[in-house]
Amino acid sequence: MRLSPILTALLLAATPLAVTQAAADEIWVTNEKDDTISVIDINSLEVIRTIPTGERPRGITFSKDYSVVYICASDSDAVQVMDPETGEILHDLPSGEDPEQFVLHPDNRHLYIANEDDAITTVVDTVSRTVVAQIDVGIEPEGMAVSPDGKIAITTSETTNMAHWIDTETQKLFANTLVDSRPRHAEFVKDGTELWVSSEIGGTITVFDVATQTEKAKISFELRNMHPDRVQPVGFEFTTGDTHAFVALGPSNHVAVVNAETYAVEDYILVGRRVWHMDFNRVRSLLFTTNGVSGDVTVIDVADRKALKSIKVGRFPWGAAFRPTN
């Protein structure tokens, strides 16, 4: 145990009953240029395992029961299915070319995969291991989301600058909405009533009303001593109850804290270089951000909005996913 007294106190305060349970929870980080996953022990905040993957691993997500982990091995043109206990690749899923990001449908069975080089979203049945549908979307699809009720899937396309709305029943597009340049990430929030889409080059997050697919707000970011061109929102995640969003701002090396009710930016937290994506621990008291250029993960204290520690991982860490171990 090498936890600082503050952090220990924090963990104890935040999770008085769960601390022993959570003892060995993990954050899994894909290292794009090392073809590995670094597994961080949330208790010791150290890398405890490094697992080889296919080429250029990016998106990573666990099945709902955490029995398998899905990895987008972009340059291997495969989604790999791994046993998280052994690190063994069980099999590949047919994914289409250059899978970059994906999202698991609430039915725990269908993966919606963005095929970046092909302008296609591929829907794969993870049980029968077959492609159920391929949907033409804009150039360089990337951000993926599914509504909590499972009825709507979203693909954002980086060069076409749109959020594409897919009806998961028919697997067809029912709306296409413009956002600012280079949309990267999408999330449904507030029980699926709002959709947030980040635009990396536009420097904004667009908030849509899901019922009407209309834009209801746009969030922009301002950092002192930083040219707006370098403030590039990419990945983001929400705190418990969707009250606040933590937004990675890419090469500005900061994470913004946005009030999800007022859409006001409340804080900026300095992290490592070119921050990409993130995930929380079990009780969402700690946030782990992947910093591509500096090759590390920053641990943020969510309540204090302060960076606690950097953890060295592999080269160009990209995706992050939480794994409970009991």
């Binding site: 250059d98 970046e116 080089d117 302008a119 033409d136 804009g138 150039i139 360089e140 396309s157 980086e158 060069t159 076409t160 600058n161 749109m162 594409h164 597009l173 029912f174 709306a175 296409n176 909405t177 413009l178 600012d180 340049s181 280079r182 990396e200 080059i201 536009g202 420097g203 904004t204 667009t206 849509f208 009407t212 697919q213 209309t214 834009e215 209801k216 707000a217 746009k218 969030i219 922009s220 970011f221 301002e222 040219h227 061109d229 370098r230 090469p251 007022t262 859409y263 006001a264 930016v265």
Partner: protein, 393 residues
């Protein structure tokens, strides 16, 4: 922090939501791409032939990108590619093109570009320069109906000098070829060196006509012996006739830059960050070769038109020009930050990669070169020094 959506965006979103992905308001847009072909000067090595479809492949990829977006917005794109042979009638080709559209992408020499811009039938047109790097076209000879996608020669040479300043390679020597473009390149290096407080000491003209593939190792050491001492050796050889034979053959062990060695580029196959790998692989898949400077400029030209059309909904040259020069335009150009136009001379602002044959070395503007508006304007002539008046309203 909070911005309501523009009326247009809200309207478009609402319309799409009800109508689905089909056409909403059909916008037909026609762009002509004119390339005045040139006879490439002979070079000692034929390792890097100029691709037959240089530039054209870029505009075709950009068209494909635009069409994908256009599919969701009911846009219909027409691109006409016209090649005019070296001795062909460029003027007649322009007449035909201007009869069909107000949107022209031109890969042509500076004098031809200016003549095109000054034609009465081009007064309401919008021309995109993807072939002429002359700084004067962005300065005293600027035209209100010409936007420059290709960076000026000065932007490229400034990028290189910023790197020298960063590395404290303050004392330079230069070898200049004898062709007209070589001399223009040397002038750009000299002006940029002065701008950034560097000095070019010894300067020699390359006038050999021997075949350097056989005897570079014997001739270049002697040729460079009397350059004295310097930190880096600049080569101004626009066609890369002899430049490739200079590295490792200099009398003193010094890095080579300019036309060989460390080179400022518009685009290069070694650029991979900021999603560039995707653009590179789309281009490779389409054309079975690497994307080059002019391909990138042509791609960016038609993508800029596409971006402005998508945001304004209008295929009219005047509306597109106003939007491109306005504060809302931004092009995601895979160079790490949004590309915008300089309002005072119509030049597309853009980072300049500094590369060698195997990798990216740095991307200018380099850290520490500050500017009150945007560091991108440390490259090339800035507004206060500009003699361009055509953009003043």
């Amino acid at each position: 922090m909070l911005r309501a959506c523009s009326a247009l965006a809200c309207l478009a979103a609402a319309a799409l939501a009800t109508l689905g992905p089909g056409p909403v308001h059909a916008a037909d847009i026609t762009v002509h791409y004119l390339k005045q072909e040139v006879t490439a000067p002979p070079t000692l090595s034929n390792l890097d032939p100029v691709p037959e479809d240089l530039g054209i492949a870029g505009v075709q990829l950009g068209l494909a990108d635009n069409e994908t977006t256009g599919r969701f917005l009911g846009q219909s794109w027409t691109l006409e590619v016209v090649r005019v042979p070296p001795e062909g009638d460029f003027d007649a080709a322009l007449t035909a093109a201007l009869a069909a559209t107000d949107l022209l992408i031109l890969d042509a020499r500076a004098d031809r570009l200016l003549a095109a811009a000054d034609r009465p039938d081009a007064a309401a047109a919008l021309l995109f320069n993807v072939g002429a790097p002359e700084p004067r076209l962005r300065d005293a000879d600027c035209r209100a109906n010409v936007l420059h996608i290709l960076p000026s020669r000065a932007m490229l040479s400034d990028a290189l000098m910023q790197f020298f300043v960063t590395r404290r390679w303050t004392s330079l020597a230069m070898i200049v070829g004898s062709a007209e473009p070589d001399i223009a390149l040397a002038q750009a290096y000299a002006e940029s060196a002065t701008k950034f407080g560097l000095s070019i000491g010894a300067r020699k003209t390359w006038a050999f006509d021997a075949d350097m593939r056989r005897n570079a190792s014997r001739e270049v050491p002697l040729f460079t012996q009397d350059l004295g001492d310097y930190d880096a050796l600049l080569i101004a050889d626009a066609a890369n006739d002899f430049a490739r034979y200079i590295p490792y053959n200099t009398w003193r062990p010094r890095p080579v830059a300019g036309s060989e060695g460390l080179t400022p580029k518009v685009w290069d196959r070694v650029v991979e960050a900021w999603g560039a790998a995707q653009l590179q692989s789309r281009f490779e898949d389409q054309s079975n070769r690497a994307m080059q400077d002019r391909d990138y400029a042509a791609w960016a030209a038609i993508r800029a038109i596409g971006e402005a059309l998508t945001r304004t909904g209008s295929p009219e040259a005047a509306a597109l020009r106003a939007y491109m020069l306005g504060p809302d335009f931004e092009l995601a150009g895979f160079k790490g930050r949004p590309l915008t136009f300089r309002g005072w001379n119509g030049q597309l602002r853009q980072p300049i990669p500094l590369t060698h044959r195997g990798a990216l070395v740095a991307s200018a503007p380099l850290e520490g070169f500050l500017h009150p508006e945007t560091e991108l304007d440390t490259l090339g002539k800035d507004a206060p020094e500009s003699r361009c008046t055509a953009f003043e309203n």
